[in-house]
């Protein structure tokens, strides 16, 4: 498995890419144009090598792998020789200092390409380490959060089967309710965990199709209303239809989790409102409540899965650590962001964004979400 990955990476170094080829051609063309202009002004020749050296450095930095940098340096050497040194418009290899120019350009290309590649690898390693961290946190939260309801279910079931008829009916009914409540909770937790399996682990991405935001929000709120009586859920949506590419099942899960979080943890909340709006090239979803807000010291670790239920005093409200960290995983796999804040008047507001345009290179959007 590892060897295959490595092989792929090596292949990618020499893989032809239209983007990289285009960038190389563009930079070299710009350098040539600049040299022509400078020659027309009058003091060209001395700067030609410098300009091309800079162009080669630029190509090496912006393209991936060694190929384009080296190619640019070869083109540069011949270009300089052909067009900008006497005799003009002819190749002449007996020029003094010629090997030096060639070697310098080649060396710069190799050096900078190497640095760029190494930098990219480091970024990937950092990312992998962060992913690993998140996974470990999640696992810790899971083992804690799953064991508790499992213990209570098996405990209640064994009490019932051993003492059936011996304890009064009211007590039996209470135990049964506990069992079904905990089972419901486990179902939701497992659904949450399973939803992560829909995310492509290697590329941390999801299959996206354009979906109508209103449909997803409606269904999430419909299910919330079935499960919780209070706080009352409201929807605020603009008249226009907002479409965004997404994995609808996952985004519904996010909204459901945020609503559930409000229902279980927003103390004293009377309403929770889902708002959708379009801002530039992003669809912005907000889930806001008028409860007690989030404790300030919990805010920074809210989405790590580590904000576990250690100091959750209410017996019935289990930790949403897993739910929130799943939300963050889902949203970042969509190329969006998830944030939480306290509203000045009291209450918490969770906000997540989804890019409404597919792919990169939408200049008018200006949302560069490189990781």
């Amino acid at each position: 498995m590892l060897r295959r990955k490595g092989g792929n990476r090596r292949e990618r170094m020499f893989l032809f890419s239209w983007r990289d080829a285009g960038v190389t051609a563009l930079i070299l063309a710009a350098a040539t144009l600049l040299c022509f202009l400078m020659r027309n002004i009058g003091d060209g020749e001395n700067y030609v090598s410098m300009v091309f050296l800079f162009a080669v450095a630029l190509v090496s930095r912006t393209t991936s792998g060694y190929f384009y940098g080296v190619a640019a340096s070869v083109v540069g050497v011949f270009g300089v020789n052909y067009a900008f040194t006497k005799p003009y418009m002819a190749l002449c290899f007996s020029l003094t200092g010629y090997p030096l120019t060639f070697i310098t350009m080649l060396a710069v290309a190799v050096l900078i390409s190497g640095m760029t590649t190494q930098l990219k690898r480091q970024v990937r390693q950092n990312y992998n380490a962060r992913l690993e961290d998140m996974r470990a946190n999640l696992l810790r939260a899971v083992s804690h959060d799953l064991r508790t309801p499992l213990t209570s279910i098996s405990g209640a079931a064994s009490v019932l089967s051993r003492n059936l008829g011996k304890i009064d009916e009211k007590r039996q009914r209470a135990l049964l309710n506990e069992i079904s409540g905990d089972a419901e909770w486990l179902i939701r937790m497992v659904e949450n965990l399973l939803s992560i399996t829909r995310i492509n682990a290697e590329r941390a991405s999801v299959k996206k199709v354009p979906e109508a935001a209103e449909e997803i929000v409606s269904e999430a709120v419909r299910k919330y209303r079935k499960r919780f009586g209070a706080p009352a859920a409201e929807i605020a949506m603009p008249g226009e239809l907002i479409m965004a590419p997404m994995d609808a099942i996952l985004i519904e899960q996010v909204i459901t989790n945020l609503l559930e979080n409000a229902a279980l943890h927003a103390t004293g909340a009377t309403w929770v409102r889902v708002t959708v709006k379009k801002q530039g090239c992003e669809a912005v979803f907000e889930v806001e409540d008028n409860g007690g807000g989030i404790e300030p010291d919990k805010l920074p670790v809210l989405f790590d899965g580590s904000a576990s239920s250690y100091n959750d005093s209410a017996a019935n409200s289990r930790s949403m650590g897993i739910g929130l960290s799943v939300c963050r995983t889902i949203i970042s796999a969509h190329g969006g962001t998830l944030t939480a804040e306290n509203v000045p008047g009291g209450g918490a507001r969770f906000r997540f964004t989804l890019p409404t345009e597919e792919g990169e290179g939408h200049a008018q959007c200006g949302n560069h979400t490189h990781r």
């Binding site: 659904e191 199709v209 354009p210 109508a212 997803i216 929807i235 099942i249 519904e252």
Partner: protein, 231 residues
């Protein structure tokens, strides 16, 4: 009311089968059950049940395959059991002739609601075409081409009207995106689901009292749309 209907449960997990049998028997349905595809086919052929509940993950055969084979000679309503997240399976099952699906893990109320709806569709199938549909204040008259909500006439575009009548004729059933596109725009159109969604958004703004919480046409995320039961 007596539920004389006979229901066949095809599910390999014994505990889930027990659970469903208990629930159905307590509602006075007659219950047949099997854990594999082979017996399922022979029971459908010999006992002619009124409804089949089919788990797609069977040990001896692919559930989808079983479904399409059964559809070649039987019109018995089929409710498929599928896991959440496997939306593609649901779409395939609906395309293969399933009448509805239920998502695992499901509750008792949901199970019974789906069974009642599917049984009703099975009966309606033998009644012939209707021209007037009404439910919850929405009235669609396909003979006079009139759509009303609470008595108020609603003006729909040609495409919107086609979508609404298509959903009415299959009220209570989930129609997949692809099926709707084929039926409304024709089999050779290269229309995408985006256009369907835009039309659906417009329809909802015209017929729903609260378009953010539609009561007539609900969304089945990742699968399609469902119109409420219309009489």
């Amino acid at each position: 009311m007596r539920n004389a209907a006979t229901i066949l449960i095809v599910e390999d997990d014994e505990r889930i089968r027990n659970y469903m049998r208990t629930v159905l028997a307590s509602c006075d349905y007659a219950v047949l059950e099997t854990g594999n595809a082979k017996t399922a086919l022979s029971i459908v052929a010999s006992h002619n049940p009124d409804l089949v509940i089919l788990d797609l993950g069977l040990p001896d055969r692919d559930g989808q395959e079983l479904l399409s084979e059964m559809r070649q000679w039987s019109r018995v309503p089929v409710v498929v059991i599928s896991a959440r997240g496997l939306e593609k399976d649901k779409v395939t099952a609906l395309d293969n002739g399933a009448d509805d699906y239920i998502t695992k893990p499901f509750g008792t109320d949901e199970l019974l609601a789906r069974i009642r709806a599917a049984l009703r569709h099975g009966r309606q199938r033998n009644e012939g075409e209707r021209t007037v549909f009404s439910g919850n204040g929405l009235v669609v008259d396909t003979e006079r081409r009139i759509v009303r909500v609470d008595g108020q006439p609603i003006h729909l575009t040609q495409i919107e009207y086609k979508i609404v009548t298509l959903l009415c004729r299959n009220s209570g059933k989930v129609l997949t995106h692809d099926y709707m596109i084929r039926e409304v725009w024709g089999p050779f159109s290269n229309c995408d689901t985006q256009l369907l969604r835009v039309n659906m958004a417009n329809i909802r703004r015209k017929i729903e009292k609260d378009p953010t919480m539609p009561e007539y046409i609900t969304t089945e995320i990742g699968v399609g749309y469902r119109m409420i039961e219309m009489d």
